[in-house]
């Protein structure tokens, strides 16, 4: 503890002051009442919680839906980003900088502006539909925007660059000898990748997964702009209740529930990844 506390202290204190206290306010607010749709009244009621937890629509179509979408989008992000990260680590100098810049460019520009680019691609008569129909993958235009597909695609679009960034260092620092040793005992490139490289990139992958999952789970901008009534992700509900409907008590209750769920899922991931590999890689003193 003597060795552990001082380095942890600044971060912990910052969090205590700037996160814990505000969150206490959120917790308190979540027990308040909303009167006539706008006016907040101090109270001690569980209504806001029962309203959410007692409603299967909220539970299934927002909470569970968000978890599912967040997990799926995270998974796809990882699958898409991993090869790119691998490729980036094989480049160097200018080529690498250009690649990294391109990877981060969408985030630099921001979703709000790029949505219009997406409309060009995704709209009914858009590029993607035209392409798919030309290729005879399907014959009727498929709806991407303002649909769950669009939400997932855009979450992946945003998430993938973060995964790439998280992975770079882990991949880069794997000693080539380890792969050589695997090849030598008969592992193909592919096997060597799966059994050696992949496990050793787990720390980076874990970081990426946690980051992207958290971003996805509380996403509101994407479902707001690309979603429709079928993609009411919980982050969007919080946004709407808090800012559009002025229902801060309910939004606070939702937030508290989200924090708990999020924490449980992240702890689950920590245990899972720890079991899988991280415990083995940790350098303990």
């Amino acid at each position: 503890m003597r060795r552990v506390l001082p380095p942890l202290a600044p971060a912990l204190i910052a969090l205590l002051i700037f996160v814990a206290f505000p969150m206490l306010w959120v917790l308190r607010t979540s027990f308040n009442e909303l009167e006539a749709g706008a006016y907040i009244v101090d109270a001690m009621t569980l209504d806001n919680y029962t309203r959410f937890l007692g409603d299967s629509w909220y539970l299934i179509n927002t909470l569970w839906f968000s978890i599912r979408i967040a997990l799926i989008a995270t998974l796809i992000s990882v699958v898409c980003a991993y090869p790119v990260a691998l490729y980036v680590t094989r480049t160097s100098g200018l080529q690498r900088n250009i690649l990294l810049a391109l990877i981060m460019a969408p985030l630099l520009i921001g979703l709000v502006t790029l949505v219009y680019g997406w409309i060009v691609i995704f709209r009914g008569g858009g590029l993607l539909n035209s392409l798919m129909i030309t290729l005879r993958v399907y014959d009727q235009p498929v709806r991407y925007m303002w649909d769950i597909k669009g939400v997932v695609i855009l979450l992946v679009y945003i998430g993938a660059p973060y995964v790439v960034l998280s992975l770079l260092d882990s991949i880069e620092r794997i000693s080539p000898f380890l792969v050589e040793a695997a090849r030598n005992v008969g592992a193909s490139r592919w096997t060597a990748f799966w059994k050696i490289v992949f496990p050793l990139t787990m720390p980076g992958l874990y970081a990426g997964v946690v980051i992207v999952f958290a971003l996805n789970f509380s996403a509101f901008a994407v479902p707001l702009m690309i979603g429709d009534s079928n993609t009411q992700m919980i982050g969007l509900i919080v946004y709407r209740e808090a800012l559009l409907n002025n229902d801060l008590p309910f939004a606070s209750a939702l937030s508290v529930i989200m924090v708990v769920v999020n924490a449980l899922i992240l702890m689950g991931m920590a245990v899972l990844f720890g079991r899988l590999i991280l415990n083995r890689l940790e350098v303990k003193r």
């Binding site: 695997a182 090849r183 193909s188 050793l200």
Partner: protein, 361 residues
């Protein structure tokens, strides 16, 4: 068709401007044990890595069991390899490290467990199955690297200084295991070591490398007793060089006139013209050293300047009256000679080799 398990032909490896391996060729016969010996940085690891397929040669070809493997990926070459820096997989336990190759070969669970247990037993690591590499000492890690290669019972095994971090007793045991395994499996072995005792005692033949080139390929005894160049002579065992000129060459004997004018007689094995500049080679263990004055042929007088104790061996450095430094080794001694004492050294003519000073050096 040839009998050779490994054929290395005209291999060159350049890193930018620097040449790490320079036109190296040698063969290793089926079941043979060949050592690669040479000073640090001479290209041993590079050569081995190219044979295994981890690096591509700038020029040259490799054949393993009469198949050109130069362009084959490492996993198709079916070679065992022990890395100089171990290259243990940090996320796998000792048992997993050792068993990985077997699992890839789809062996049965029981078989794999057996093999793991066996290789760990041989390398003295039983009981360490579930440790991770970072929980092992340096020598233990090295033994895991060895066990990992042995578990696969490869037909051809390449080892890069596999025993460098082991204590002598363990090294002796390991060596014996290796030799036994090799004999039992008819395994072809190419062995890199910096320990010449190891090279000499284990090998059928030894390849001596220097600065990326091959200096000599010979059987151990031949190498030690008949080094082709003074580099080899010096590198394999410690050797005294005394410079001089050839005199009185006749039939089976000749003389070397040292700087001091003294003439040493040698049983001539080399053809040298009289008057040529030559070097007389004297192995330290071949000389007799006394503190009582003796006279006669091939007696050199001098003063003891340093004595080093190695347990079974005492090594003396003597400054000859001619100014040269000569090292002498004494075994089975009971007392030490004091530094500074006057000593006499006797070398029998049959223990004196003569090589010409330029040419082969």
């Amino acid at each position: 068709m040839s009998d050779d398990a490994i054929q290395v032909s005209g291999v060159v490896k350049r890193y930018g401007a620097a040449t790490a391996v320079d036109n190296v060729s040698f063969n290793v016969a089926q079941g043979e044990f060949v050592s690669l010996l040479g000073p640090s940085g001479c290209g041993k690891t590079t050569t081995l890595r190219m044979i295994a397929g981890f690096a591509e040669p700038t020029a040259g070809t490799f054949r393993v069991n009469d198949r050109d493997v130069t362009r084959l990926p490492p996993e198709k070459r079916e070679l065992g390899f022990v890395f100089q820096n171990y290259a243990l997989w940090p996320h796998m336990t000792v048992a997993e490290n050792v068993g990985f190759g077997l699992k890839l070969r789809k062996k049965s669970r029981a078989f794999i467990a057996d093999k793991i247990a066996e290789s760990l037993f041989v390398t003295g690591l039983s009981g360490y199955e579930d440790r991770l590499p970072r929980q092992l000492s340096g020598g233990q890690q090295q033994r895991v690297a060895l066990a990992r290669a042995l578990a696969l019972e490869p037909q051809v095994l390449l080892m890069d200084e596999p025993l460098s971090n082991l204590d002598r007793a363990l090294r002796v045991t390991m060596r014996r295991e290796l030799k036994e395994l090799q004999a039992r499996m008819k395994m072809t072995t190419l062995y890199v070591t910096h320990d010449q005792e190891e090279a000499l005692s284990l090998s059928n033949r030894v390849v001596i490398m220097n600065k990326g080139r091959v200096e000599q390929i010979a059987a151990p005894y031949e190498l030690y007793e008949n080094p082709a160049t003074s580099f080899v002579a010096d590198f394999v065992g410690i050797t005294n060089f005394l410079e001089g000129s050839a005199v009185g060459v006749d039939g089976g004997s000749m003389g070397v006139r040292l700087r001091s004018g003294q003439v040493l007689r040698a049983a001539a094995k080399t053809a040298v013209t009289p008057g040529a500049e030559v070097r007389a080679l004297i192995r330290p263990e071949r000389v007799t050293l006394t503190t009582t004055p003796i006279e006669g042929e091939n007696i050199l007088a001098g003063q003891l300047i340093l004595s080093e104790y190695f347990g079974a061996v005492l090594r003396y450095s003597v400054r000859l009256d001619g100014g040269e430094i000569l090292r002498a080794e004494v075994h089975n001694f009971d007392s030490f000679v004091e530094t500074g004492a006057k000593v006499w050294i006797c070398v029998l003519p049959q223990h004196l080799r003569v090589i010409s000073q330029e040419g082969q050096g």
